[in-house]
């Protein structure tokens, strides 16, 4: 690891100011950024920690649904979202191991937008809103492909607002080594319809499966997806699965998620 300076502001304004300097980078739980720095693949001059900012912590009900501070660790979400949005809490509780869950944060996960990360599927399936220091971004506009988002340089995610569905479930199929999602499917049923978001499978990152949404909006049952075809053309091919295998998982996991949502 290269040497760096470290600041830990206590307000969003201070953090934004600190991030305006050349070579400054936000640090949240550090579960992605610190290993990258240890491998010398990233060498920020200054790390601006977001974990000392009170406004960016915690889980609470508010306008538009469940508000989660961007610097809230996965373990806190797993505990505190349980009463309000159990499927989201379960997703958070299934990320990594206890050390990762106690450090890693929802904001870090969304800013990073790893194609195999869990949170992006919840955000997209819930039609959640990403709140930053300057604006709000709808989930449908936020994810722009693997490791790519709508965030500008120096922009900070401050919270995420999740509309609470009538029914929902996340089913994750572990990649055997990393135990990230080899494929994961989040299904959420709202009064206005069903949303289905898929992570881990596509070369374009998290995506909505519109055919399944239509079928499930008409008939919310596991069998509703059995007749659908999932194309394997844009699916990821790697050591752990072929495109055809991932396409199959999308279907299997979607119907399992519907069953789990009840």
């Amino acid at each position: 690891m290269h040497n760096f300076d470290f600041v830990k502001p206590s307000t969003i304004a201070e953090a934004v100011a600190a991030l305006s300097h050349e070579g400054a980078q936000a640090l949240s739980g550090g579960q992605t950024l610190i290993p990258t720095m240890k491998q010398r693949l990233a060498a920020p001059a200054t790390l601006v920690s977001l974990t000392g900012i009170a406004e960016m912590q915690g889980v609470c009900l508010g306008d538009g649904g469940l508000h989660i501070g961007a610097a809230t660790p996965h373990a806190t979400v797993a505990r505190e979202a349980k009463a309000h949005y159990p499927a989201l809490a379960k997703l958070a509780g299934g990320i990594g191991d206890p050390a990762v869950r106690n450090k890693g944060t929802v904001g870090g996960s969304l800013a990073n937008n790893d194609p195999a990360a869990c949170y992006p599927s919840a955000v997209l399936a819930s039609g959640a809103t990403i709140v930053t220091n300057t604006r709000t971004i709808a989930a449908d506009d936020y994810f722009q492909g693997m490791f790519t988002t709508a965030l500008h340089d120096g922009e900070i995610i401050t919270s995420v607002v999740f509309p609470i569905p009538e029914k929902a479930a996340y089913v994750k199929f572990d990649q055997p080594a990393s135990r990230f999602a080899l494929t994961g499917v989040f299904v959420a049923k709202y009064a206005g319809g069903v949303r289905v978001a898929v992570t881990g499978a596509s070369q374009d990152g998290v995506f909505r499966w519109h055919e399944a949404e239509a079928a499930l909006s008409a008939n919310f049952s596991p069998a509703a997806v059995s007749g659908l075809a999932m194309e394997s053309r844009h699916m990821i091919a790697d050591l752990h699965g072929t495109p055809a295998y991932r396409a199959n998982l999308v279907k299997v996991l979607t119907s399992r998620a519907v069953a789990a949502a009840g």
Partner: protein, 789 residues
């Protein structure tokens, strides 16, 4: 009931107190005043010509003491190979030079090119980025068959990528071919034995120290065999005589074979410490371990089994390509040959066996022994082809094996592949397995799984291994450049406590506990009075170290021999003190008595007399009580057993869940049943890891795709079931004093075929009868692809 702390007692591992409380002293814990840090710059391409290395900018950076390249290692030998294999045409194998630092060419990703030595590790790493290296990338050869069919040459100077072409038993080849022609049925299976990365918990570390005034070198290293490193590095690489070179392997956090070999980093720190006159330390990162530790397995095999009309095995034929990687690691040549071909008779009466092994150089990390070493490869193909034959013939895999087993009254049994099995009872371990795994209840369990939409399968494997390596005169004939005896010095102290210096090395096996149990049993003193010392060439006799499940069978036997010398001398002293005839002296429970009298002397009376020899037969006997023995085994030992695995396959995702795993082993006599169970548990986890999860994969350019734990799947606790293990079916070894066979590798040898057989069984029961084989690891995607492909 075994005596507490004696043979047969499940005494708790005394070393665990220090390991579990953070008091272990590992190589990385050693820091010497004035120490410098080495950072290796390694090749990022698999094959290339080095055009230029410019170290000037780096050498001007803060804290940098020197940047080394191969130019600093002229006059230094290459890393030697400890075994020479002879090809079918009588020619010795090709043995290209393996320089300490790359000379002119790089041959695999991770090949060391230059080393920065600096005051701190960060300074060394910073400066490494300033070393300018210009490499012309060459096409890499990764596929073994392409490598021998005129692919790019890994070593231009030897003119071929074929290291050797070995046939065994060459004289039987024609007879084997003839038997195949006459066979009523032939089963053929093409398979891959997947390449593995050993991944011991502790990465490799080496610290070199040099004393200018005496010319004394010390190397602290993470080794399974410090004397072997002293011999190889001293005699062949750096030309340092033994009395000027001390090698210390303190606590070592797992090896699994990968810490047997002499590595370039060891020679580097030793030499650099001499050049710089300061200690030099290197600690491998985990990422570095993935591209610099010798890897395991990697065979491409066609196995064929011939059967007569009554389903007797009549011949076995195996053609294997074995990957050596870019250089020959220390024992690489012998793994796919003598530790593989000699095991192909398995537990069976097959009269004719022929193996052809082509060892191939590729632009990949070197491959050498990994837990089991050759024997898992032999067992996997044999136990898979037998299952496949049973399926083709429509007979029970259990009964097909049973029918072809060597019978209990046939021991000692001369196999057609040179080795002689001394004892065994394969029917007994098979029966024990079927009983313990409730084989009778399997169909009901399978029906219950089916009701839940899952496919249940049972897989059996029976294994044999050759352990306790090895008779030196035999291995000498087979090409070994070392002896394979073991040594021990038993030092009895004046007040009766004992220190044993053993050439064996414990890196997780628990020798400090088990070896003390043996001495405690033999002399009758409390095990707490015995300490086991290992890992330092300056205090123990020349020994060959720990691998090949040899420590108790060979090292323990040396210790028993030395202890018997102690007992004989102690009896002479007792006879003198009690004015009796030596023949009448008995030692029991730590007391010397004279038969037929009530005379008695304690152990401590005798040891005191030996060191305070006031009343002592000085004219006929030396004072003191210390003995050294070397033990050279007369044969290998042959642990064997039956393994059973029950799995459930999710037909929608291909995911395999292991529901139960049962192991019925014959290890001969057992000194500490708890430690033996632990060794089996660990071996099973590694075997299940190979079967289900682990896979080291290079792309066609020689880049490692499974380059970290993000992609290389190690077994976790929830990947393995609670095991049921048994070692009650013991047929003690006939040729070593303890009657022990060795238990360290069995789990990793016997389990992979049991897992894969179980998966195939589940698929067949589920109607997927077109699936005849799935290569390891049987990952969800591979299983699903096989079902639907």
């Amino acid at each position: 009931m075994p005596k507490d702390g004696g043979i047969g007692a499940s005494t708790k591992r005394r070393e665990d107190v220090r390991f579990l409380t953070g008091k272990g002293r590992y190589t990385d814990d050693i820091n010497i005043r004035g120490q410098l840090y080495a950072h290796f710059i390694r090749s990022q391409v698999a094959h290339g010509t080095i055009r230029k290395i410019d170290t000037r900018d780096a050498e001007a950076m803060p804290g940098v003491v020197k940047v080394f390249t191969s130019a600093d290692f002229t006059g230094v030998g290459g890393i030697p190979t400890g075994w020479q294999v002879t090809s079918r045409d009588g020619q010795p194998m090709l043995e290209p030079k393996h320089p300490v630092l790359a000379e002119g060419k790089v041959r695999h990703v991770g090949d060391p090119i230059a080393v920065v030595v600096a005051e701190t590790l960060d300074q060394a790493r910073d400066a490494a980025e300033a070393v300018e290296i210009d490499i012309d990338e060459l096409p890499a050869v990764v596929d073994m068959k392409a490598a021998v069919k005129g692919g790019p040459l890994v070593h231009d100077e030897i003119g071929s990528n074929l290291c050797y072409d070995w046939g065994f038993v060459e004289e039987n080849k024609a007879a084997v071919d003839e038997a195949f022609k006459k066979a009523a049925h032939v089963t053929t299976l093409d398979l891959v034995n997947n390449r593995l990365i050993a991944n011991p918990m502790e990465p490799r570390v080496a610290v070199g120290d040099y004393e200018d005034h005496s010319g004394q070198h010390t190397l602290y290293t993470t080794s399974q065999n410090p004397h072997v490193i002293r011999l190889l590095m001293g005699a062949f690489v750096l030309a340092i005589p033994e009395h000027k070179l001390r090698v210390v392997a303190p606590d070592v956090g797992g090896g699994f074979g990968s810490k047997i070999y002499h590595y370039a980093e060891e020679a580097f720190v030793t030499k650099a410490a001499q050049i710089l006159k300061r200690p030099v330390k290197w600690t491998s990162s985990r990422s570095e371990a993935f591209i610099s530790d010798a890897q395991g397995r990697d065979h491409l095999t066609r196995i064929q089994l011939a059967l007569d009309a009554d389903h007797n095995f009549t011949a076995l034929r195996c053609e294997t390509y074995a990957n050596m990687g870019a250089y020959l690691s220390t024992f690489a040549p012998c793994i796919p040959t003598w530790l593989h071909g000699t095991l192909l008779a398995g537990n069976y009466k097959t009269p004719l066996v022929y193996t052809n092994v082509k060892a191939v150089f590729t632009n990949t990390v070197p491959v050498d022994a990994y837990r089991g070493a050759g024997r898992p490869e032999a067992t996997f193909q044999l136990e898979r082809v037998i299952d496949m034959a049973a399926r083709e013939l429509g007979v029970s895999p259990v009964e097909l094996r049973r029918k072809n087993f060597i019978q209990p009254d046939q021991f000692p049994y001369q196999t057609p592949v040179a080795v002689v099995y001394d004892t065994g009872n394969y029917q007994a371990t098979l029966d024990k397995l079927l009983d313990l795994s409730d084989h009778a209840g399997f169909e009901a369990r399978a029906a219950e799984s089916k009701a839940r939409g899952k496919l249940r399968g049972f897989g059996l494997a029976h294994y044999i291994e050759a352990c306790g390596i090895a008779p030196s005169n035999l291995v000498g004939q087979l090409g070994a450049r070392a002896g394979l005896y073991e040594s021990a010095t038993v030092r009895v102290n004046a007040t009766g406590s004992i220190t044993v210096f053993t050439g064996s090395h414990s890196h997780g096996q628990g020798h400090e506990t088990t070896f003390a149990q043996v001495i405690s049993e033999m002399i009758g003193i409390d095990a707490s009075q015995v300490d086991i010392v290992h890992g330092d060439t300056s205090n123990s006799p020349m020994g060959m170290g720990t691998y090949g499940s040899r420590s108790l069978a060979v090292g323990g036997s040396a210790m028993v021999k030395a202890t018997n010398k102690i007992i004989n001398k102690a009896k002479k002293i007792a006879a003198h003190l009690m004015e009796a005839s030596e023949a009448d002296i008995e030692l029991k429970g730590g007391k010397f008595t004279v038969a037929g009298t009530d005379k008695e002397k304690s152990w401590v009376d005798i040891t005191l007399a030996a060191y305070v020899p006031h009343n002592y037969p000085l004219e006929s006997m030396e004072p003191g009580l210390e003995e050294t023995a070397f033990y050279d085994p007369s044969n290998f030992t042959y642990p064997a057993g039956a393994y059973g695995c029950e799995v459930e396959v999710d037909p929608d995702t291909g995911k395999v869940t292991i529901l139960s795993f049962t192991a019925a082993d014959d290890f001969g006599n057992v000194v500490n049943p708890m430690i033996v169970a632990g060794q089996v548990h660990g071996g099973l986890a590694q075997g299940i890891g190979q079967a289900m999860l682990e896979n080291c994969v290079f792309d066609e350019n020689g880049q490692l795709l499974s380059g970290s734990f993000m992609d290389y799947a190690m077994p976790r606790a929830d990947d393995v079931p609670f095991y049921s293990v048994d070692h009650s079916c013991a047929t003690p070894c006939t040729h070593n004093p303890l009657g022990v066979k060795g238990c360290g590798e069995a789990g990793a040898i016997g389990s992979p075929p049991a897992v894969v057989n179980a998966v195939l069984d589940a698929l067949h029961r589920g109607g997927f009868t077109h699936v005849t084989h799935i290569d390891m690891p049987v990952s969800p995607s591979r299983v699903w692809q096989a079902m639907h492909g």
